[in-house]
Every structure is written in structure tokens, then in C-alpha cells.
């Protein structure tokens, strides 16, 4: 066969992407199910075991707000790959999407929570990372 290396190239691409995914899982908290490393069905660390919590900070208190459906994609990306940039991107989108009725707030806080199960499957949620985003155009 001429150019015998040609048919190997797709598998080389698979290996490169797969190794990058392993790195991204350990370095950036990527879900093992995502990123092309074939880690699906290998861990509970996916889907409902990852949660975002968005709150408006007002003085010393905070009020939890829902992520609107039109930001599902941004939220899904932040949940699968909860880097500072992705959580911040969700925060910025949220500040733009908030209705006027949301009122005045100092900052918007995006938290990423993760679940761990013990032997009895008793779940423990822990805060893995969080960012705070100032409202668009300063104090609202």
C-alpha cells in the first residue's frame, strides 16, 4: 500500500484528542463524559451530579436566581467544563438577561457544585469553584 501511514491518521487524531481530554479532566475539571476521551459511563461526575447556582449579591444577603432557558447552552458548557472563563461567561450573559424586576445588586455570583457519594450512596455536595461578576454598567 502506498502511503501506509494515511489510514492510521484518524486513530492518531483519536489518541491526541483522547489524551487532551484526560489532561482537561484533571487540569480543568472537564466531565469525563465529555471532550472526546470516551469516558462516558465511567463516572457519576456528569449530568445531575454537577450543578450551577446563580445568586444576586445585595449587601450582606444573596438571592438565588434561575438561569433562563435561552442560556441553557452556556450553562451546559459551564457545567461540563467549569473553568473561570466559562463560569464568568455565564455570569456576564446572566447580567444581560436579568429583568429590571431583579432590582439593584452589587454582584452576580456563579457557583459550581459537585456531588460525591459515599458507600451508602449518601450524597455530599461541595462547592468546587465560584466567580463574581459586576452588573453591566456598574451598580444597578
Amino acid at each position: 500500500m502506498r502511503r501506509p501511514w494515511l489510514p492510521i491518521l484518524p486513530a492518531v487524531a483519536l489518541a491526541v484528542v483522547g489524551l487532551h481530554q484526560v489532561y482537561a479532566v484533571h487540569a480543568y475539571g472537564l466531565s469525563p463524559w465529555k471532550g472526546g476521551g470516551f469516558g462516558m459511563f465511567s463516572s457519576t461526575d456528569a449530568g445531575p451530579a454537577r450543578r450551577l447556582r446563580v445568586s444576586l449579591l445585595r449587601g450582606g444577603s444573596s438571592v438565588q436566581v434561575d438561569v433562563p432557558a435561552r442560556l441553557d447552552r452556556v450553562a451546559e458548557r459551564a457545567r461540563a467544563l467549569p473553568t473561570h472563563e466559562n463560569l464568568e461567561a455565564l455570569g456576564h450573559e446572566m447580567t444581560r438577561a436579568l429583568p429590571r424586576s431583579a432590582g439593584v445588586y452589587r454582584a452576580l455570583r456563579v457557583e459550581f457544585w459537585r456531588i460525591r457519594f459515599d458507600d451508602a450512596l449518601d450524597p455530599t455536595w461541595s462547592l468546587a469553584s465560584a466567580v463574581e461578576v459586576a452588573p453591566t454598567g456598574g451598580e444597578r
Binding site: M1, P10, F41, S43, T44, A80, L121
Partner: protein, 282 residues
């Protein structure tokens, strides 16, 4: 039987290409910006022999499948990546004097790579090895509810309560979660699934990596994996893709092996239409 043999002989290396295009019609992929073009190209390749062998068609499919992965990174499922690699492999095979042989090499190493990573992840995940993953999945994933009811002897209400217990938002402990209902038989099923999955995926990876002269064991392992896994896992698209690649790696004169690939491909069509697990639950 001789008609089937004649058909398989006539199809030759085209069988895997047609199977790939058919799966794109059976499970349309991508969003609005990708799906219509993929459907058009798949249909064109199936009805027109020239299109089936066109580098342009496979180049376009590779670009669309690749774009789907890049555009949604990192959210695409693993079979979206595998589809892009496989379409790319078919495209590259057009640049070689023996496209069928080139595809056989690509398919073998893509299957070996995918299964090696899949088995590796499971071996490196503590919550998979100790059975936690399958216990949680059987209790909480609605896609496996029938299997959990059959294997674990649980009711739909038990599973609802367990789902609430496992994933209730207890951040700040605002709620009192429901009770976990887990039977001994469900734990046993979870441990069985844990080890059979590692054994099956590891076996496929090793057999496709090993330099075997006769690939009967290799194909038997992949066919058994697909026939068993996709009876319960509702992701037939992945199964069809693996079967197409497996079929492409079969020598063109091994008609019986390719006939079994066609049979299991058809079996997965039945799985997609008939909920086997639901039959098992009274």
C-alpha cells in the same frame, strides 16, 4: 441463503459505507446548521453509486461531523467524535490505491483506540470500580429504569424516591430528601455490570490491538458487545457506527462474518423500535 451470499459478495467493501450513510438517516445528527446537509448527502450516497465513492461526499461529511464537534465543544457525545474520525478515514481511503484495505486498517485502530480509552477510564475511575457508578445509574437514570426494575425488583415509586434522594439540591440543606430504596439484587446487578463492562471493553480493545491473523475472536467480541450492550443502552447510533467500522475491518472474502455484522445491525434496528427491557418488567 445463496441470495444473501450473492448480495454480500456484490456489496463487497461498499457495505460499511452504506451502513454508515444509513445510520445518518436513522439517527439524524447535529443542529439545524448541519442536519439537513448531512441528510441530503447520506441519501445521495445511498441512491447513487458515484456519490457513494465520491471524495467530495465524504469530505463534506467529515467537515460537517467535525464542525458539529468543534462548534459545541466540549458538549458533543463521544460517538460524534468517532463519526468524524470515521468519515475522515473513508475520505483518506479515497487517496490510496486500495481504499477497502485502507478503511480496514483505519477501522481496526479506531475501534482499538475507542475501546482502550473507554476501558482505561473505567479502570481509573474509583467510583466506577467500587460499583457506585452503576448503582447510581440504575437508580437515577430514567433510561435504565426498566432494567433497574427488572434486575433490582424495585417499583417506579422506589426509583422516584431514590432519584430525589440522590440528586435533591441539598445546597444549604433547604429540603428534607426522600429515602434511598436499594435492594441487594440491584447492588449485585451493579457489581456484575461493573466487571462485565470492563471485561468486555478491555477484551475488544486487546483483540483489536493484537496482531491476529484470523480475526474471528476480534469480531466475535465486538459483535457480542454490540448485541448485548445496545439491548439496554438506548444509544443505537453508537452501536451502528461500531458495527460499520467492524464490518469494514473484515476481509472481503469473509462473507459469513459480514453477514453476522448485517444481522446485528438489523438487531439494533429492532432494539431501537422495541423496548426489550420493558418486556422483562411485569
Amino acid at each position: 441463503m445463496s441470495a444473501l451470499r450473492d448480495w454480500l459478495d456484490a456489496e463487497g467493501h461498499d457495505l460499511a459505507l452504506k451502513g454508515t450513510l444509513l445510520l445518518l438517516l436513522l439517527v439524524p445528527v447535529g443542529q439545524w446548521n448541519v442536519r439537513p446537509l448531512v441528510l441530503l448527502l447520506a441519501a445521495a450516497g445511498l441512491v447513487h453509486r458515484g456519490a457513494l465513492h465520491s471524495a467530495w461526499l465524504w469530505g463534506a461529511l467529515t467537515a460537517l461531523a467535525g464542525w458539529r464537534v468543534v462548534d459545541s465543544w466540549p458538549l458533543a457525545d463521544n460517538h460524534a467524535y468517532l463519526l468524524a474520525y470515521w468519515c475522515g478515514a473513508i475520505l483518506l481511503s479515497r487517496l490510496t490505491p486500495e481504499p477497502g484495505e485502507a478503511r480496514a486498517v483505519s477501522a481496526r485502530w479506531l475501534i482499538a483506540g475507542a475501546f482502550a480509552f473507554a476501558a482505561g477510564w473505567k479502570l481509573l475511575s474509583p467510583d466506577f470500580l467500587d460499583g457506585t457508578f452503576f448503582r447510581v445509574m440504575l437508580l437515577a437514570d430514567p433510561r435504565f429504569e426498566d432494567l433497574a426494575r427488572w434486575a433490582g425488583g424495585l417499583t417506579a415509586a422506589d426509583l422516584d424516591a431514590s432519584r430525589n434522594f440522590l440528586f435533591a439540591p441539598r445546597i444549604g440543606a433547604e429540603t428534607t430528601p426522600a429515602m434511598l430504596v436499594e435492594s441487594a439484587s440491584l447492588r449485585a446487578a451493579a457489581h456484575f455490570l461493573t466487571w462485565i463492562t470492563i471485561a468486555a471493553e478491555g477484551a475488544v480493545a486487546l483483540l483489536f490491538i493484537a496482531p491476529l491473523r484470523a480475526g474471528v475472536a476480534r469480531h466475535a467480541a465486538l459483535l457480542a458487545f454490540c448485541a448485548a450492550t445496545y439491548a439496554f443502552a438506548p444509544i443505537e447510533g453508537f452501536g451502528w457506527l461500531l458495527l460499520c467500522m467492524g464490518c469494514a475491518s473484515v476481509p472481503v472474502n469473509a462473507v459469513r462474518t459480514r453477514a453476522v455484522y448485517v444481522g446485528v445491525y438489523a438487531l439494533l434496528v429492532l432494539y431501537a423500535e422495541i423496548d426489550l427491557a420493558a418486556w422483562l418488567v411485569p
